[in-house]
Amino acid sequence: MKFLRQFGVILLISFIGELLYALLPFPIPASIYGIIILFLCLEFRIISLDSVKETSDFLIEIMPVMFIPAAAGLMDSWQNMKPALIPYAVITVVTTCVVMAVSGRVVQFGMRRKDRHE
């Protein structure tokens, strides 16, 4: 019963996320509203960690599998990318590396500076 109850809580929050997406005028999807709602519920002790923990660990663990259908769908959108394939590919690879390097270095720099001040 524990897993069923936990999954129920998670689905309820997913549903509230969908509801907010339908009602509010922002381009923010249900999943993002959901993360914020679940976080606030945990932080303000509205729901306990025990009421979601195991199911949530399981769902996060199998998350990579959930991207397979969308990625296999690239088969069909391939045609649309063809005209500008090389620019798209170069920009995608280069910017992904740039963003990772910049954001990681900035966080590390900020943390080390703060440690020195303390």
Binding site: I28, M81, T92, T96, C97, V98, A101, G110
Partner: protein
């Protein structure tokens, strides 16, 4: 035979899980970045569908039940975030600065490269939301007049690249701290990258989850601004 596949609900689900299983086995055997379980699974699925001449829509009919779990699973990312909140509170300035500079460098580097490649406006705005989670990215692309299906493709490829090369990139740029690694992965490669961050550790996973939310919202605001530049 193809009629049978068209009515089968479990074919798509099984093919996905089976391919991912092979991906995990290969990863265990060779331990190479290129042996990424997700990448291998996608290649196997595409190969099987092409060889058996099964339409991608037929596969999606079953596979959509896996995608169905994506929103609940993404919401669950709040749990590791909650568990690491003390660490976040202690370092929130560095963390927020990191995500902000990541989003800015994403938009700026796309702009510079788009100018170099002489892309038109529609292709340029198609790429702007490439580092954020698909659902937000699609909305941004649509609103700015981009090609939504291409945006989805670019977002997924970005995620897979981040998932594959996160460890290597962090090593090359000497990003050693767990918090910095998590922010770097989440800001650059959204939920697909976060799946890798979760494997690296709880702190990495939590910080990566936070980055999805913050960088997603910042990109909505920033992409609207950058769209005017070209």
């Amino acid at each position: 035979m193809s009629e049978f596949f068209e009515t089968s609900v479990f074919f798509g689900v099984f093919l996905s899980l089976f391919s991912y299983g092979i991906g995990l086995l290969l990863k265990k055997k060779w331990k190479l970045d290129l042996c990424n379980p997700l990448l291998i699974a996608v290649i196997i699925v595409i190969l099987v569908l092409s060889v058996l001449k099964i339409d991608c829509r037929v596969y999606q009919q079953g596979a959509k039940y896996i995608s169905f779990l994506l929103t609940p699973a993404t919401i669950c990312l709040a749990v590791p975030l909650y568990e690491q909140i003390e660490l976040l509170k202690k370092n929130y300035i560095a963390v927020l600065l990191g995500i902000f500079s990541g989003v800015l460098s994403s938009l700026a580097s796309i702009f510079i490269l788009a100018v170099l490649f002489e892309l038109d406006h529609a292709s340029y705005v198609t790429l702007l939301p490439k580092s954020i989670t698909t659902a937000i990215g699609m909305g941004v692309s649509e609103e700015l007049g981009g090609y939504v299906s291409v945006t989805v493709a670019v977002i997924i490829v970005t995620g897979v690249i981040g998932n594959m090369f996160a460890e290597t990139i962090c090593r090359v740029f000497k990003i050693q701290d767990s918090i910095a690694k998590g922010i770097a992965i989440g800001t650059s490669s959204h939920a697909i990258g976060t799946a890798k961050a979760m494997e690296l550790g709880e702190v990495e996973g939590a910080m990566s989850s936070l980055s999805i939310v913050v960088s997603g919202i910042l990109t909505v605001l920033g992409a609207g601004l950058f769209a005017n530049f070209m």
